[in-house]
């Protein structure tokens, strides 16, 4: 049992399950379900990053969405800062969503094309009734600078900005309500190489300043080593291995983890691992 005096984990998930209806019969009765998440336990402490990795279809994004109850679980408990949010109604959930926010993969889709950047950054605070107008303005000004953009960007629309700039806006937006937890769902997958590193470094700096907890959903294992304290490897809706990053990379215990790790391309031709014998497995 944990020490009663220790603060609760920022995010704690136990026995989480989620399935989707695949097929119904003529009368609308469910005849086939797909179990996306089949019983997942994980926790993230303040200031820590847990990376959830896996191949497409493993259920990692579903876990990210469940963590903030953007979708509802079938079974299991989700606790944010010690509070059980599994059964909360809308008003209470709204309060939680100020403290736990999300950054999505594609910033072009996650920012409203009809709104200026200034409005997009103000919106979460307006929705949450945070601050007076001038306080909000001051905060927006500070955040836009913090993410490496300038006040001049505030009056632009999303289409006037590059993907990297917009992802910075999305980060600023996720920070407007001073959350303790940020779920990052493939936040750099859509960005170019040189921009990817900028955004990763920014996320790390902000984490260090604010003691944020990140749940970092990604398929990119090479990034994980740079950003994550722990890694949870998912396969077919289950976590097959959840360990500190260094340990996992140095001594993976599961065959599946080993397969994933050995598929990461080398960073230098001298470390080339490529053999012309590919696994004969039928990869989905």
């Amino acid at each position: 049992m944990p020490d009663v005096l220790a603060p609760p984990p920022t995010l704690q998930i136990t026995g989480l399950k989620k399935s989707y209806v695949v097929r119904r019969d003529l009368l609308g009765r469910v005849t086939q379900r797909f179990e996306a998440v089949k019983g997942v336990d994980l926790s993230v402490d303040a200031g820590q990053t847990l990376a959830v990795v896996g191949e497409s279809g493993a259920g990692k994004s579903t876990v990210g969405r469940l963590a903030l109850r953007l979708i509802d679980p079938d079974e299991g408990d989700i606790r944010v800062l010690g509070e059980d949010i599994t059964g909360l109604g809308r008003p209470a959930l709204k309060r939680i969503r100020a403290r736990a926010t999300m950054i999505f993969q594609d910033p072009y889709k996650s920012l409203d094309p009809k709104c200026t950047i200034r409005y997009s950054l103000n919106e979460p605070m307006i929705a949450q009734n945070i601050g007076e107008r001038d306080e909000r303005d001051a905060k927006v000004d500070a955040l836009i600078e913090r993410v490496g953009l300038s006040a001049g960007h505030l009056d632009r629309y999303p289409y006037e900005m590059s993907g990297g700039q917009l992802q910075r806006v999305a980060i600023a937006r996720a920070l407007t309500t001073d959350p303790e937890l940020v779920v990052c769902d493939e936040p750099v997958a859509a960005l170019d190489m040189s921009i990817r590193a900028q955004v990763i470094n920014l996320l790390r700096e902000i984490q260090a300043e604010r003691g944020l907890a990140y749940l970092f959903v990604t398929h990119d294992l090479s990034l994980v080593r740079v950003i994550a304290d722990r890694v949870a490897v998912m396969r077919s809706g289950l976590i097959v291995e959840n360990r500190p990053t260094g340990e996992l990379f140095d001594q993976p215990t599961q065959d599946y983890t080993r397969t994933l790790l050995s598929a990461i391309p080398a960073a230098h031709p001298r470390d080339r691992t490529f053999t012309r014998r590919s696994a004969p497995s039928d990869s989905s």
Binding site: A197, Q198, F274, S283
Partner: protein, 346 residues
Amino acid sequence: MGHITRAPEPAAHDDVTPPVLLDVRGLRVEVTQAESLISLVDDVSFTVAAGETVGLVGESGSGKTVTSLAVMQLLPRAAVLSGSVRLHGQELVGRPRRELDRLRGSQLSMIFQEARRSLNPVFTVGSQISESIRRHKGVSRTDAWARTVELLDLVRIPDAGRRAQQYPHELSGGMCQRVMLAMALACEPDLLIADEPTTALDVTVQREVLSLIKEAQLEFGLGLLLITHDLGVVAEVCDRAIVMYAGRVVESAPVMDLFDRPQHPYTAGLEHSMPDPVRHASKLGTIPGTVPPAPDFTDSCRFAPRCPYELPECTMGPIPIETTAPLHDVRCIRAGTLDLSEAFYA
């Protein structure tokens, strides 16, 4: 056109590499926008030898896809292409369409990033492969089908006979990419252009598809032009790499050389922005700023605004690409004088 200062003989590297298969010289592609000509790609020159794997690396907007489409002569009619693209010494630029149609698929083939979108959804994958065999080889329907199943087997599609009768939507992304590869190999081309063939795939599938491409290369002696933004893929499978930035080649070198001794600050920056647990456990180097859009391309160094080593001369005029070591070309006036080992770790 162009400012190529390498030896004037087109096949300058004959002593070290097999005969040149593809020879691109002074390639330039322009489009009209708001009544002015914008160049998307200019002064692009490179070669691919038989059996060689050449990586064409760059970020979005660097012109790598435009270059590959220009090689295939697949650019839209609105694009103005100049320069020279030679395959086996024969000029492709300006060839009549009928002749190009004969070459495409039989001598040069291409596979794309999203395989499923490149396949026709209303025909079975087998019929799409045999179509190209029948077209180019003029064999019977039965023989073409037999060859199709053989090819699907070659790209390790299990139960090839049954899979051949399936439609693209019944196959996974990795399977579709294998089908594309089978189709590209159907008429034993000499050159395969693969444009981000594994970008949309999971790492494990990526590895399998890359292995297959490399195996096919050995089997058919293919020259392979691999277009990618992923330096990891370059490190794993390429013999040489060409780095493009804002429509121009900024560096090209054998991969060992390119990773050990990058000479262009952009190349060094890209390499340092890759997570590399061996050299830098937790910090990523970053290149400030972004790639300029094509209308803002200048004649002088296009990377200068992002470059920590910029000098006033960098923006004063055209920067030629120069050979600084065997097979190593760089477009930077400070090439060879800079220590780039810690570049971009601000």
